[in-house]
């Protein structure tokens, strides 16, 4: 063991996993382009069918939807690492803890999403005046959703038995969560039962905060503080559930 004493054991997780994320998109250009394009397919569709006044709201929603999708990519990546490449056995045996692995997978999958988030932010700035405080709210919401959905993706990946299950389960979980939360439309136009279900999702509060900060839907200061508290609270609950499901051991 003395031979390995000089090997650094701390502080290399983020650059290492960032490199993994960059290598993936540099070797597969389509994998870099698709995450950028996907929200725009939906945006184009919504632009054609929905009232024009909802478009800025849909652009802001696309930023949150893109962030949610990172969870689905984390699920795919972590499942491949564990089931196909048997890398999780190596990680479990190494000094890499489960929280660092979560952060690493989250960071490496954030990289392909960043170009999409930047383009969406530019479109938002073009179609709607965005005050500096609203940018801070958007960035805060993106960070919270990124952490929560990366954890959900990674947690589910540790329970999956076969690579064939990745697509249907990922599709079911992340698409359902993406549609239930009012990312592309105001919460108020949804049927009452749907509104009630949406109250359990962190993305709902992120969407309400962003829409309120942009003044697309009216919200008082007190309401926004409450939404922020509920966002953090529901995110903490979701994170606790994800960590409970998460299995950090040899397959």
């Amino acid at each position: 063991m003395a031979d390995f004493d000089h090997v650094p054991r701390h502080g290399r997780v983020l650059p290492a996993w960032s490199l993994v994320g960059w290598k993936w998109i540099s070797r597969n250009p389509a994998a870099a382009i698709v995450p950028v394009m996907l929200p725009f397919f939906f945006l184009y569709f919504l632009r054609l069918i929905s009232p024009p006044e909802y478009f800025p709201l849909a652009v802001a929603g696309a930023m949150l939807y893109t962030t949610q999708n990172i969870g689905s990519w984390c699920l795919t990546d972590a499942a491949a690492n564990r089931i196909e490449l048997h890398l999780q056995e190596l990680f479990v045996a190494s000094a890499l803890g489960k929280v660092r692995y979560l952060v690493g997978i989250g960071v490496s999958n954030l990289i392909p999403a960043v170009p999409a988030l930047i383009v969406e932010a530019i479109i938002l700035a073009v179609v709607w005046p965005v005050p500096p405080a609203a940018w801070l709210v958007i960035i805060g919401c993106v960070i919270v959703l990124w952490i929560v959905f990366s954890a959900i993706g990674l947690a589910i990946s540790t329970r999956i038995q076969s690579q064939r299950e990745v697509w249907p389960i990922g599709n079911l979980v992340f698409s359902t969560l993406g549609v239930l939360a009012p990312l592309y439309y105001p919460l108020s136009i949804l049927p009452p039962a749907w509104q009630a279900v949406a109250q359990f999702l962190p993305s709902t509060y992120a969407a309400k905060l962003v829409q309120g900060a942009l003044e697309i839907t009216p919200a008082t200061g007190d309401e926004m503080v409450l939404d922020a508290v509920l966002l953090v609270g529901s995110a903490a609950v979701a994170l606790a559930i994800a960590l409970r499901i998460y299995r950090w051991r040899d397959p």
Partner: protein, 247 residues
């Protein structure tokens, strides 16, 4: 034996169907994108729901064809059973047609569920039903053939999804499949009538009386879809024979 050699296609279709039926979650969740787009339309533009439902049917037929891409690649790259099949009396052509047919049969419940919704929201005439069946078969034949050909070009499963995603979105979400042709820019409407998915949707919507197509537009849509489906299917058969190899 004469071309195309389809000996054993029935047996392999049954095998392929049973493999798919072992994965009920995949079947149950296969129509999620259609469901999302239908929900968008229901909430934001309820008047367009009949168009969106017919579009969802066309998109489902296209998506079921696209499942061949993943499945053929999975069998060849991950399981390597492809080598076993090709060493057997099953011909490569029968392998392609059986695989695609089996997937279609297993995923039919999603089509049936959407047909029930269409009948509830916008009941179809007999002529519209006939047009719908023909159009769905043509869309599926085009999509499955394209998917099989593309599947033979990959060496890594992880690299497939971005291309599959681009294909389904570019042909299914962007053009007027879930919304009427009239909402597309007029100068691009001829392009929509040439694309297999949007031409299929336009033909059924015209047969159902939801929108009108002038004779030129009708001929363009029907001709394009027919030619594309037949050409893609024949090319798929030829390609299956030509690309048959181990690994």
């Amino acid at each position: 034996m004469a071309f195309p050699r389809l000996h054993g296609v029935g047996v392999f279709l049954g095998t392929s169907m049973r493999v798919q039926l072992h994965d009920p979650l995949a079947i149950a969740t296969s129509a999620i994108v259609e469901a999302i787009l239908l929900i968008f339309v229901w909430i934001l533009a309820p008047a367009l729901l009949p168009f969106a439902l017919i579009g969802a049917l066309v998109y489902s037929a296209f998506l079921i064809g696209q499942h061949v891409l993943n499945e053929a690649a999975y069998i060849r790259i991950d399981h390597k059973i492809n080598e076993l099949y090709l060493a057997s009396p099953l011909s490569p052509e029968a392998y392609f047609v059986g695989l695609a047919g089996g997937i279609l049969t297993a995923y039919l419940p999603t089509i049936v569920a959407l047909l029930v919704l269409v009948e509830i929201v916008a009941p179809l005439s007999l002529a519209a039903w006939g047009a719908l069946v023909l159009v769905l078969l043509a869309t599926w034949a085009f999509s499955a053939s394209l998917a099989y050909v593309i599947s033979t070009l990959f060496k890594d499963m992880k690299a497939i999804w971005p291309y599959a995603s681009i294909l389904t979105n570019v042909l299914g979400v962007v053009p007027p499949v879930f919304y009427p042709l009239s909402l597309w820019p007029p100068e691009w409407q001829a392009v929509a009538l040439v694309l297999p998915t949007s031409s299929a949707a336009a033909l059924v919507e015209a047969a159902a009386g939801l929108q009108s197509l002038d004779p030129g537009a009708f001929l363009l849509a029907a001709g394009s879809l027919g030619v594309e489906a037949a050409a893609a299917f024949l090319f798929g058969i030829w390609w299956a024979h030509r690309s048959a190899r181990e690994v």
